[in-house]
């Protein structure tokens, strides 16, 4: 679960990380009324999960209520335009009206989880306000890293060492350990996978302030912080995630693509393998779908309808290798699903092997269906049936 800027900054505030004064608003009127009551220089920022707000004209300045109303309306008039990261764009439902900072320097600070060392990794760079992946590519030496022993936790010396190693402006030195301590506390307290401040601004008058926030929470840990439920519903699940949830699947278990071979498999690895097999057979897959372990009739029907109703599939390739999943249950599910569904019907290609394979094949045979022998065979057959 990714948080929007204003949500991340709310967490920053709780952890004692300095953030600009701000007000979260949902209409141009609210923006105008806030700026009217709080004279000064303000910046109005679209609250979306996509990057590239500045280039898209979704960050604008306002010096009085009238200007605030105008720019807020302009920003909200159109959604965020599509980009590579999000080819569908994103609606703008709210804005953050924020104090304008007089920026002297911009730095970067983040904590992520390092898969190789299995430790939290702190990253600091003097190259702030830029795409960090670009920085990592062009100036890899500029990113100072520190791996934290979870037993010891974060201590200020780590921040001091990073400030020196990353060659930050000396104006950052005293503030950085405290800011990283807050970031680390937040990272652990809320079970984050990533917390990022980019840019971390050094102002003309020597304050160090988090000018933006990026926080990714671990979906698996959300139950520990029920308060985030409210943000979760406020956040736009993408369409595929919404569909997956409605079908009773995990949000990661379904994703659509442009092809015409609908797929379903048990287990994420096999589901990806099924897509690869379709591709290898010269076809194009319409979706990724991991039906999960307990593939009963209802689940199978939901998955079938999900693919029929929301993709351009011209054929449905079911690829089951029974481990936990029992082939007889899946076979029953398929038969029942087809009998009860009201969705459109396409040719089925079924591959069914593993636990209780014999019983499963018998159930299919009784319903007049013959499974293929291998995944490759199934993919070839499905691609042939789908046509070009």
């Amino acid at each position: 679960m990714n948080l929007m800027e204003y949500q991340g900054k709310e967490l920053f505030r709780r952890a004692g990380i300095p953030v600009p004064r701000s007000q979260h608003v949902t209409t141009a009127d609210e923006a105008a009324s806030f700026v009217g009551g709080n004279p000064g220089n303000w910046v109005v920022k679209a609250q979306v999960l996509m990057g590239g707000r500045g280039k898209a004209g979704k960050i604008k300045f306002a010096k009085n209520a009238e200007e605030a109303r105008t720019v807020a309306a302009e920003i909200m008039a159109t959604p965020m335009p599509p980009n590579r990261q999000n080819p569908k764009g994103e609606p703008i439902n709210s804005l953050l009206v924020e104090e304008t900072l007089s920026v002297s320097k911009e730095a970067y600070a983040a904590i992520a989880i390092d898969r190789t060392t299995k430790k939290p990794v702190l990253m600091v760079s003097a190259f702030g306000g830029m795409d960090i992946e670009e920085v990592a590519e062009k100036h890899p030496e500029s990113i100072a890293k520190a791996f934290v022993e979870t037993a010891a936790g974060f201590w200020p010396h780590i921040g001091r060492e990073l400030a020196f190693k990353a060659n930050l402006d000396p104006g950052y030195r005293k503030a950085l350990p405290g800011i990283l301590a807050g970031l680390y506390e937040l990272f652990f307290r809320y079970g984050a996978k990533l917390v990022e401040i980019n840019p971390l601004v050094l102002t003309e008058d020597g304050r160090v302030i988090a000018a933006d926030s990026k926080v990714e929470l671990d979906d698996d840990a959300l139950y520990k912080n029920p308060e985030f439920k409210q943000w979760q519903t406020a956040l736009p699940l993408d369409e595929d995630e919404t569909l997956a949830t409605k079908a009773g699947l995990g949000i990661r278990n379904f994703r659509r693509f442009d092809g015409n071979v609908g797929t379903m498999a048990n287990g994420a690895g096999l589901a990806m393998g099924t897509m690869d097999a379709v591709k290898n057979a010269g076809g194009s897959f319409a979706n990724f779908l991991d039906v999960g372990g307990g593939a009963n009739a209802e689940r199978v029907r939901n998955c079938y309808e999900l693919v029929m109703n929301h993709t351009d599939a011209k054929v449905f390739f079911i690829n089951i290798f029974g481990g936990i999943t029992r082939c007889d249950e899946v076979a029953k599910g398929i038969v029942e699903a087809l009998n009860t569904t009201k969705s459109r019907k396409v040719p089925l290609v079924i591959r069914l092997t593993g636990t209780n394979e014999e019983q499963g094949r018998r159930i299919l045979a009784d319903a007049g269906m013959t499974p293929v022998e291998t995944m490759d065979d199934g993919a070839a057959e499905a691609v042939k049936l789908a046509g070009v």
């Binding site: 990261q85 989880i113 898969r115 190789t116 299995k118 430790k119 939290p120 992946e133 990592a136 590519e137 022993e149 979870t150 037993a151 652990f188 079970g191 996978k193 671990d218 698996d220 840990a221 139950y223 520990k224 995990g250 990661r252 278990n253 994703r255 693509f257 498999a265 048990n266 287990g267 994420a268 690895g269 096999l270 589901a271 990806m272 393998g273 897509m275 690869d276 097999a277 591709k279 290898n280 897959f285 990724f288 991991d290 290798f321 029974g322 481990g323 936990i324 999943t325 092997t353 593993g354 636990t355 291998t374 995944m375 490759d376």
Partner: protein, 292 residues
């Protein structure tokens, strides 16, 4: 021999009276695994449907059975607790089947259980065919032999094993290391064991997009086991960047975790990479030294 698990391993099941725990305990017993008991707090003193003793705590189970291995079938919020309980009771090998364990829980466990080998979480377990199986792998597709197998996936593993078995390649031990971003046991950990296992004469490595475990494995192979016949496969080659498909760990972000990076790493280590699972047995046959 085999790695991590053999006939002598005494297994306790945490969450043995739950639906999953009970079902798979039965399957493990049927396979021949030496399951000696289980733990469900509050049900100590009872017997399971399989006739195994239930204990209130791992410590009690250890004291009564001398268990060496643990298999965890508890809900995600209880998984880290189960691992710590086992560790403190003296267990040094644990298989965590549970999916959806918070990543910070896993960080805490791996950071504070030195000397414990944890397989998973979110994994199908491991099997040393003909000897013992811990977890949820379908035993009947495996066959005892000399190919070691390591995989980030569950069902894809069975697919690969089925192909190997049909082609006449039995397995020494197959380890499903799990699909999460942070896992207790990596490819390299398993390679190190296989290197020293006399039974294992070749290895199949089923990787996946995301992370750099495969790159690390390739570097290890290059340096420490250049003569071992090894074949690799990378799942999810057609997955788009930025989205994890099912496995939380299978995500390409920027230049990290792409199939190209992994394939190149294996190639530079002299490890052929199969385009599809069905090529694996053939590639393996080419690399296996002629039997004397």
């Amino acid at each position: 021999m085999s790695i991590y698990l053999d006939k002598n391993s005494k297994v306790i099941v945490q969450g043995i009276t739950g639906a999953e725990g009970s079902y798979h305990t039965g399957r493990m017993l049927a396979y021949g695994t030496n399951v000696v008991g289980g733990v469900t707090p509050g049900k100590g003193g009872q017997k399971t449907e399989h006739g195994l003793p239930v204990f209130n705590t791992v410590k009690e189970a250890m004291d009564a059975t001398g268990a060496t291995h643990q298999c965890i079938f508890v809900p995600p919020p209880a998984a880290a607790d189960a691992l710590f309980e086992a560790y403190e009771a003296g267990i040094r090998f644990s298989v965590c089947i549970t999916e959806g364990v918070p990543v910070h829980d896993v960080l805490k466990v791996v950071g504070a259980t030195p000397g414990m080998r944890i397989i998973g979480p979110n994994c199908p377990g491991l099997i040393s065919p003909g000897k013992s199986s811990i977890g949820i792998m379908p035993g009947h597709v495996f066959k005892e032999g000399n190919v070691g197998l390591i995989s980030r996936s569950g069902t894809l593993t069975y697919e690969v094993v089925d192909l190997l078995t049909r082609a006449g390649f039995g397995q020494s031990t197959a380890v499903g290391i799990g699909g999460d971003p942070i896992i207790g046991t990596t490819f390299v950990d398993c390679l190190r064991e296989f290197k020293n296992d006399p039974q294992t004469e070749a290895i199949v490595l089923c990787g996946e997009i995301g992370g750099s475990d495969e790159e690390d494995a390739a570097a290890y192979i290059k340096e420490h086991m250049p003569d071992m016949p090894i074949v690799a496969f990378i799942g999810g080659r057609n997955a788009p960047p930025g989205k994890s498909l099912g496995h939380a760990g299978a995500i390409i972000s920027g230049k990290f975790g792409t199939p190209e990076s992994k394939i190149n790493a294996f190639k530079s280590a002299g490890v052929p990479v199969a385009d599809r699972p069905s090529q694996i047995p053939g590639l393996l046959a080419q690399r296996m030294p002629a039997r004397v």
